[in-house]
Symmetry: C2
């Protein structure tokens, strides 16, 4: 198998890359990185990503890091394979681009903090920062208000079709649905239906089943 993804099974960015490959029907080898021993901060990993974070994408001599750069590459390089995740029309692609930035800078900024504070920290024996949780919940609620309006106009955030924008949200939504933050989704009917639709995608179920096997 040519393509390797070096990552951690519970890392949302790792899962984002694996899900993109799964939607495209591309075979890959998952190479677990042991974060508990700091494997990601040492050679040979640090030569693949100088910032020492998972995931890293490896296809022979070609190596990439930053999960959203990896998914964009896969979506473009394998445009004709599996589910289309981007579009060719420059203006429609630009609209997808806007919402890709919204995910990265607004949704993830709040959602990833909540996932870490509420779900990951207790698992690691660390104490949840309740003030940060409250602040991040307010930020996420404001983002989801905009999403509710957007999803009343279009079926998906980027337009009428599922795209890389929606995909990028899935790993964090999956985590948040296991916490009290689920209420912020439940209160918004369009957001709630969109989240349920995303989590039901066969490619996502396949990725999770593969990691938990």
């Amino acid at each position: 198998m040519a393509i390797k993804v070096h990552g951690h099974p519970l890392s949302p960015p790792t899962r984002r890359v694996l899900l993109t490959l799964a939607e495209k029907g591309i075979d890959y080898e998952f190479v677990p990185v042991d974060l508990t021993t700091g494997e990601h901060k040492k050679e040979p990993f640090i030569s693949m990503n100088p910032f020492g974070q998972v995931p890293v994408y490896e296809d022979g001599d070609f190596k990439l890091f930053e999960s959203r750069a990896v998914t964009k590459y896969i979506a473009s390089a394998y445009a004709d394979k599996g589910i289309p995740l981007l579009v060719e029309d420059p203006k429609k692609l630009a609209i997808i681009g806007v919402w890709l930035e919204v995910e990265a800078h607004r949704f993830d900024a709040a959602g990833n903090k909540l996932s870490f504070e509420i779900l990951i920290k207790p698992f690691l024996g660390l104490t949840t920062d309740e003030a940060l949780v409250e602040q991040s919940e307010a930020q996420l609620a404001a983002v989801l208000d905009v999403y509710e309006k957007r999803l009343s106009e279009f079926k998906y955030l980027g337009g009428d079709d599922y795209s890389l924008v929606d995909l990028h949200h899935i790993p964090i939504i999956n985590n948040l649905m296991k916490t009290k933050v689920k209420a912020l989704f439940d209160e918004r009917p369009k957001v709630s239906a969109w989240a349920a639709d995303l989590l039901a995608r066969p490619a996502w179920k396949k990725v999770v089943a593969g990691l938990e096997a």
Copy 2:
């Protein structure tokens, strides 16, 4: 003039978009948004960007927000005009994509905080958070260490040529050079030369001159 950019003359994201248009040699009309009266949080602005932030790009009925989505659109849609800012080769484009993410998530996360705390807050009569400055300086130093190594291998972050990656850094570098954070650049010869090269670009000088006129 068809293209309008709604923004604030001192906003780094606004300047990022204007610089992209200037590099492409595309005429635009700059429409100042009065942030002091909250014009960006009210109609009609809020209909163009539901998150109420500058800039907004307007070309007739076609409107975009999120500065990095706008610059990517301009770079692609006007690929053959002015200076090339992206490349066609999918693998080279993916490498540029990696460093675009690094700018957005690592450089800007620290650099924008420093610019705001040291330069903007005193201007607004607010008190600089010295602990946050210290923390952000450490973060920025770690990013610049990686840049120093990268720039010893390639002339620019994305490869041998100036690209959208380098461009995205310019407005924040311009601000940081007016502060004590300049020392973090001066200590690193490759980073220092790269920053000087970027700030000397005719398109940047033209944008700044236009805003300060």
